[in-house]
Amino acid sequence: MKHMKGFLIHLILISICIFCMLPFLWLLSTALKGAEENIFQYPPSLIPKFPTLNNFVKVLKLVPIVQYAINSTIVAAFTVILNLIFSSLAAYPLARMSFKGKNTAFFLILLTLTVPFQAIMLPVYIIVLKLNLVDSISDFGGYLGMILPFSVNAFGIFLLKQAFLKIPKEIEESAIIDGCNSFQIFYKILLPLIRPELSVLAIFTFVGSWGEFLWPSIILTKQNLFTLPVGINELQGAFSADYRLIASGSIVSIIPILLFFLILQKYFIKGTNEGAVKG
């Protein structure tokens, strides 16, 4: 009976895992099929008869996917850095100091959580245009336009505020007696203590920024600044006749984030539990 139950649970979970992998495996299988193999054949075969890497070579030659990946990395990395700086600075006084207007500040930050970006993106677009943060002015401006609107996130501020609150008050008091000013306390004493939460924030911000599609697809005009999601979506228009190439490009594009995920898996498992920070 006990064995039967365990077997059943594994059976169900394995089926769910197959469901979760199947779309990607089918994409991979299509990418590995050469020109001599019909990708619409009946019955379809998951294992290619003559597997080939030609489609990958071809798509990498025709489309600057490596450049897209570099752009995605630049945008995600700077979005992470700015979020860490702005969120930790803002979370510090909210958690460790008492001052006039604290509740107002807290309320305003909470308010931003309720407003979807999609509903305010039109004026954001106009503001970004007015500030010249677009790729038609300069590449640098184009990158900034993708990064700055996402440089602060209320989730991050709250996550770090909770982290700061867990640290005992005495640590600060003894530092004040030793003559530390508020920034020294923040930078030398408190920040090192919240390193786990900073990593969680960094990782989730990175994945969120890496997968962002709507905003870059609106503001980008030049192909050399395309991020991966924008570039991969463009493959559909460029190779509408050849799904092998669309599939190869898509598969190449997920390799970096899959490696990132596998290397940092324990943070993902911990992070969703802690803050429910969604990218």
Partner: protein, 285 residues
């Protein structure tokens, strides 16, 4: 020393608030203001028109259809995203081997870009694709107006299961083992034990998952943009897709902004319920 702690709170908050002002509060108010102006005659010098944008879109069949479609999408996604991840989480929470392996595989779709997931499904949904072969049918998953939205919802559910599973797994850790054991001694079977003990215990988290998945359903865009572009026959046109089309294809910023304000009201209502009822602890309200 003392002055440092008096002025500094504001200095620490300043950088975040400058960014929030430029990219959040200012556009928030501008959206509302823009919804009262007409951009369709002269894009560069819009004229003030009070509520005409609102009456225009609320009388437009396409906009009303996109509101209905958005709620139809919500109804399709939310129950699945509340129940399926819970079942998966309960199964993984048993005393079994390969827990981490299961978690990692089921979480993978969450980290992969939605664009790639949508492209992968578009390929499965092809008329000559794998799904039609598997079910021995000729279903137009993305071309039949009656089922296109269901096909899109399946993609969203696929992408979300792992995420909500992790939230449930964390909640399951808080269910007291003694209660489960007591239920076992009373002779409750696997399903009964979880229906009577586990589920009532994690009800707040189930409610939380319902509201956050509803909020993201109201904002759905990318799946639709990549797979159907709102078609066929507007059957997958949602509010955000409507906004996108009005603003960036028709350059009718007035109507788009009015639709934005309606989206704002909908989402803010859901979020307020969520924060005030289910996330009080998280924000220490």
């Amino acid at each position: 020393m003392k002055t440092d702690f008096k002025i500094s709170p504001y200095l620490y908050l300043l950088p975040a608030f400058i960014m929030l002002w430029i990219f959040f509060f200012l556009p928030f108010f501008q959206t509302i203001v823009m919804s009262f102006y007409d951009y369709s005659v002269d894009f560069y010098s819009p004229s003030f028109t009070m509520f005409s944008n609102y009456s225009k879109i609320l009388n437009s069949d396409v906009f009303l259809k996109s509101i209905l479609n958005t709620f139809w999408f919500l109804i399709l996604c939310v129950p699945a995203l509340v129940i399926l991840p819970l079942i998966v989480a309960i199964l993984i929470d048993q005393k079994i081997k390969f827990k981490t392996g299961y978690k990692l595989i089921i979480y993978t779709p969450v980290v992969v870009s939605i664009v790639v997931v949508a492209i992968a499904f578009k390929w499965l949904y092809q008329p000559e694709g794998l799904l039609n072969y598997f079910f021995h049918k000729e279903i137009g998953y993305l071309t039949d107006p009656k089922i296109a939205m269901v096909s899109v919802a399946i993609v969203t559910i696929f992408k979300g299961i792992g995420y909500y599973m992790m939230i449930y797994l964390a909640a399951l850790m808080s269910v007291p083992k003694e209660l489960i054991e007591a239920a076992e001694i009373d002779g409750a079977g696997f399903i009964r034990k979880h229906l009577t003990v586990t589920i009532p215990h994690i009800m707040p988290v189930i409610a939380l998952v319902s509201t956050i998945s509803s909020i993201s359903a109201l904002k759905v865009f990318v799946e639709i943009y990549v797979m159907t572009k709102g078609g066929p026959l507007n059957s997958t046109k949602t509010i955000v897709y409507y906004i996108y089309e009005k603003a960036f294809e028709n350059l009718d910023l007035g109507s788009a902004s009015a639709a934005c304000v309606i989206l704002l009201i909908l989402v803010m209502a859901f979020s307020a319920v969520n924060i005030l009822c289910f996330e009080r602890d998280k924000y220490k309200l």
